[in-house]
């Protein structure tokens, strides 16, 4: 097998619900990846520092608090400012369809809602890992069409 991918799973902001993040982290682990979980209530800066220090290739952001439209783009901006433009970012949680285009616009390559099969998330990871230039700050227009 190739080297495992290093993936940070993070909970930004004041949001105490991490069942979804843990399920995704577990699925990624069982697919052979190395998952670094941040724990609850992290600031954007803390998440970016973690991605930098852990040299993660992917960052998964989970939010069920309704603050995704503010926090997710903030994390993406700070990643780019820190020179981490090649990190591939995806998100999930309670995120209405109407809010998704804006998130894709800032470089988030997939947004998964409740009911997404974990197999689809793994398929996204495989696909994105094999593509060039889909990091958060690399200007790609590509994003994954999530089923839920």
């Amino acid at each position: 097998m190739d080297q495992p991918l290093r993936i940070v799973v993070a909970k930004p902001g004041l949001d105490g619900h991490d069942r979804g993040a843990k399920v995704v982290a577990r699925a990624l682990r069982d697919a052979g990846h190395e998952v670094i979980y941040t724990g609850l209530r992290r600031t954007s800066q803390q998440i970016v520092d973690t991605v930098r220090d852990e040299d993660a290739r992917f960052l998964g952001l989970s939010s069920l608090s309704g603050a995704h439209a503010h926090l997710f783009p903030q994390v993406c901006q700070k990643l780019v400012e820190a020179g981490l433009d090649d990190v591939i970012v995806f998100g999930g949680g309670i995120i209405p369809d109407d809010d998704r285009p804006a998130l894709h616009e800032v470089g988030i390559r997939a947004v998964f809602g409740p009911g997404t099969p974990t197999s689809e998330i793994l398929e996204f990871i495989r696909t994105a890992a094999s593509m060039e230039g889909v990091g958060v700050g690399q200007g790609s227009r590509w994003h994954w069409d999530a089923s839920a």
Binding site: G32, Y37, G39, Q46, D49, D53
Partner: protein, 302 residues
């Protein structure tokens, strides 16, 4: 990764760029770094230590306690790195690396320029520490980190591999770990340079510390210090952190440490051998027996 890019990143890392340093560490971990990037020290540092392994059973509070220790050291101006090891799944090869969840020092903007934490999975290594950690620690020291802590996978009595990778060993124990006989048993505790009985806010900690001290007193060699701590409440943390900083080698068990180094190197040669996976397949399919397998892996290709 191209050689030129790696050379740039190496230079940036040595100049203090944390992102470049993290990437070089990944290359070291993956075995894709040019070989001469790092040369791990071959001897055990007897004066001031550079690397210190923190080990002990799962759930005794190693992460919380080390976070508190690092907070103190970083506040005093020491630059300290922590390599936190968690197990890889033997089935999928994946890992959930959760030590950061309990770390506050890395998130504290007052001191986090003095703190670096990196999560590491055991991957194919047996035991509580993959030997590659030795190279990663050596590289961190080259980048100007003064002290490197290596937090092992939660481990039991017979797990001595951490002795292979560090100048000093601190064993963290919990309260009420069985009856007094547990403290008398041979194993890891014999190699410790310092023992911290954590969760001192809970019942049984003082008794367990007393049993350990008694057990060491019977050695006649004057065993390591046994201190009580509570990482959660902060009790005893300052004393433990100060004791760790100036920790002298107990000088005991040098031979045992060298044996662990030798065994760890040997194991790494086996697991890095180009035929390693093919040999494992052969063993599973029954086309090879263990003796044949050892012969095939004894070449110098590693």
């Amino acid at each position: 990764m191209g050689c030129g890019k790696m050379a740039d990143e190496l230079e940036q890392a040595l100049a203090g760029d944390r992102r470049a340093m993290a990437r070089v560490l990944t290359a070291i971990e993956n075995g894709t770094a040019p070989y001469d990037i790092t040369s791990a020290p071959q001897s055990i540092e007897l004066d001031a230590w550079n690397t210190l392994a923190v080990t002990g059973p799962p759930g005794v509070g190693k992460s919380v306690l080390m976070d508190a220790v690092m907070t103190r050291w970083a506040g005093q101006g020491h630059r300290v790195a922590l390599l936190a090891v968690d197990p890889s799944s033997p089935r999928s090869g994946g890992a959930l690396l959760g030590d950061r969840v309990r770390m506050t020092s890395v998130d504290n903007p007052e001191i986090n320029h003095n703190v670096y934490v990196r999560s590491i999975a055991t991957r194919t290594a047996s035991g509580s520490v993959p030997l590659i950690v030795e190279d990663m620690a050596a590289f961190l020291l080259r980048c100007g980190w003064e002290r490197v802590l290596i937090e092992t996978v939660g481990s039991g009595q017979a797990e001595l591999r951490c002795a292979a990778v560090a100048d000093r060993i601190v064993v963290v124990e919990g309260p009420a770990r069985g009856d007094g006989i547990q403290a008398e048993k041979a194993g890891l505790l014999e190699l410790a340079d310092l023992v911290l009985v954590n969760k001192s806010d809970l019942e049984g900690a003082e008794r367990h510390a007393g049993e350990l001290r008694e057990s060491y007193a019977l050695d006649g060699e004057g065993g390591p210090k046994v201190l009580l701590t509570s990482g959660l409440k902060g009790h005893g943390v300052a004393e433990a952190a100060d004791a760790m900083l100036g920790l002298q080698s107990s000088g005991r068990a040098v031979r045992a440490r060298m044996r662990e180094r030798l065994l760890a190197r040997h194991e790494r040669r086996l697991t890095n051998h180009p035929s390693y996976n093919a040999v494992l397949d052969g063993l599973c399919e029954g086309t090879l027996d263990i003796v044949d397998a050892l012969v095939r892996l004894s070449g110098d290709d590693a």
